[in-house]
């Protein structure tokens, strides 16, 4: 769906996000099942990219998202969004998550059990705006669930609420941690569409953790391939997953 069409349909006159580019250059030691490894990532992410982080578990995908969100502190390096320094180990800058304004969707969705669907979404807003909550409810097809509590929702419904809540804050960057892994195949296909919708509406960077090739090809404009904390390839999905690299990636040591 074209971006313009989507906005017409939902009465969002302008994109929710401010847009911008993200420059990452960090190292972080992490503990995996194979022992200690270092996560080393250097990347420039352009405005409006939908980037997939692809790799086995323990490759550092979730850690990288947490570093970007400010939930985990890198050992060294810099993270800069537009002109704002989020992290700089030399200058001792480390913006807390509250000031980075990222939308983070957790693997378990982390919906607040004490709030209804509507309250979860409006909790994400910087300024209360009932009109916008209604638009988000409509966009993600949640109107009839607005007064339900998360415990009553199915996995796919929770995922849509989590997306809507993340968007309500109008984040600079949208971070999605394996958003579809807990869902069955058909639900995945349907919700890939919701993710694209969220990305287009936000009109800024979306970074998504995935280990599903189909998902990467369907959604991503670019992909970073991680293995044991190292970036082993990056670029367009078709280039990254050309025969050589895939063989290399899946080869056993």
């Amino acid at each position: 769906m074209k971006i313009e069409n989507l906005r017409d349909k939902t009465n969002f006159s302008s994109p929710l996000g401010v847009g911008g580019s993200l420059s990452i250059s960090i190292t972080k030691s992490m503990l995996t099942t194979d022992g200690k490894t270092n996560l080393v990532v250097c990347a420039e992410i352009q405005d409006n990219e939908l980037l997939c982080l692809f790799g086995h578990s323990g490759a550092g995908k979730t850690t990288l998202l947490r570093l970007l969100a400010g939930l985990t502190k890198p050992d060294k390096g810099r993270i800069v969004f537009n002109d704002t320094v989020w992290f700089d180990s030399e200058k001792k800058i480390n913006l807390p998550p509250q000031e980075r304004n990222v939308g983070y969707m957790f693997q378990d969705y982390a919906l607040f059990p004490n709030m209804t669907v509507e309250e979860n979404i409006s909790f994400g807003q910087k300024e209360k705006n009932k009109d916008e909550v209604n638009k988000l409810l409509e966009l993600f097809d949640l109107q009839i669930l607005r007064n339900q509590h998360p415990a009553k929702l199915s996995g796919g419904q929770k995922q849509r609420v989590a997306l809507a809540r993340a968007l309500a804050a109008k984040p600079n960057v949208l971070l999605l941690d394996e958003p579809l892994s807990a869902l069955d195949y058909e639900m995945r296909l349907a919700l890939q569409h919701e993710i694209r919708k969220a990305h287009e509406l936000l009109n800024t960077i979306t970074i998504m953790v995935s280990h599903d090739l189909q998902e990467v090809f369907h959604l991503a404009s670019s992909v970073i391939l991680l293995k044991n904390g190292m970036v082993i390839n990056e670029g367009k999905p078709a280039d990254v997953f050309s025969k050589n690299y895939t063989q290399n990636y899946y080869s056993f040591p």
Binding site: A69, G70, L71, P96, P97, Q98, E99, R100, N101, V102, G103, Y104, F106, Q107, D108, Y109, A110, L111, F112, P113, N114, F123, G124, K126, P150, A151, R165, A169
Partner: protein, 226 residues
């Protein structure tokens, strides 16, 4: 049939329990928060100290409290010199001892309640721009109501049932330190079994009601599943 002395003793018992619970709630929440979410190397020692009243004879704590209150020692002398107060055998003295002695009953349920809330809920709130205080008030507290009720009820019940520390620190002064548990002991010594029975019955019923409340709440709630 109920004489004034009986009513006064029960009112004093209630007053001590209410104050103890209130003070511990205010003091205990920040402590429980630190113990639940922060790592520091002295943490096991702090946790052990807080739990000490559960294993220590009340007389041990009472003895140390008396020593501390004594004007011959620093803390007691400080109080006499600056506030002209002696804490031994006073309501305030009993209250302080009672607060210390009920620490684990407030802090442990609160700490358990806080740790049972998935970390991602706090982090989600932070990424949505909410401060730690807002997160505490709007995300953490509403999702640990059963733990809060348990903490308050257990502290209150434990305080009503406390005997050893109070008799050590407060003695048996009517209207000041003579709470129901002390009065029972005193009446039995004086062979007033009827009065002792009245006090005992009230304490029995109050404690039973409180514990039943706690168990019915804990049965109804299931752990948070996201």
């Amino acid at each position: 049939m109920l004489d004034q002395d009986f009513i006064n003793t029960l009112l004093l018992t209630g007053k001590l329990a209410v104050w103890t619970t209130f003070i511990l709630f205010v003091l205990g929440f920040p402590v429980a928060y630190l113990l639940a979410y922060k790592k520091f190397w002295l943490k096991p020692v702090v946790e052990a100290l807080i739990s000490m009243p559960m294993v220590l004879p009340p007389t041990v704590l009472g003895f140390y409290m008396l020593l501390a209150y004594s004007p011959q020692n620093t803390f007691g002398r400080f109080l006499v010199e600056h506030f002209n107060t002696r804490l031994a055998f006073s309501f305030q003295g009993v209250l302080i001892a009672s607060v210390i002695f009920s620490l684990p009953f407030m802090i442990q349920p609160l700490q358990n309640g806080l740790t049972s809330i998935p970390k991602s809920l706090r982090e989600a709130s932070y990424t949505l721009g909410k401060s730690k205080l807002t997160t505490f008030l709007r995300v953490l507290i509403p999702n640990m109501i059963p733990s809060i009720i348990t903490a308050v009820a257990m502290t209150f019940a434990h305080c009503i049932g406390e005997f050893g520390v109070i008799i050590m620190v407060g003695g048996n002064i009517p209207g000041e330190t003579r709470v129901a548990s002390i009065a029972i002991y005193d009446e039995v010594q004086a062979m007033n079994y009827h009065t002792a029975n009245q006090y005992s019955f009230v304490l029995f019923i109050v404690s039973l009601v409180i514990l039943t409340l706690v168990y019915s709440i804990n049965k109804k709630t299931t752990p948070i599943n996201l």
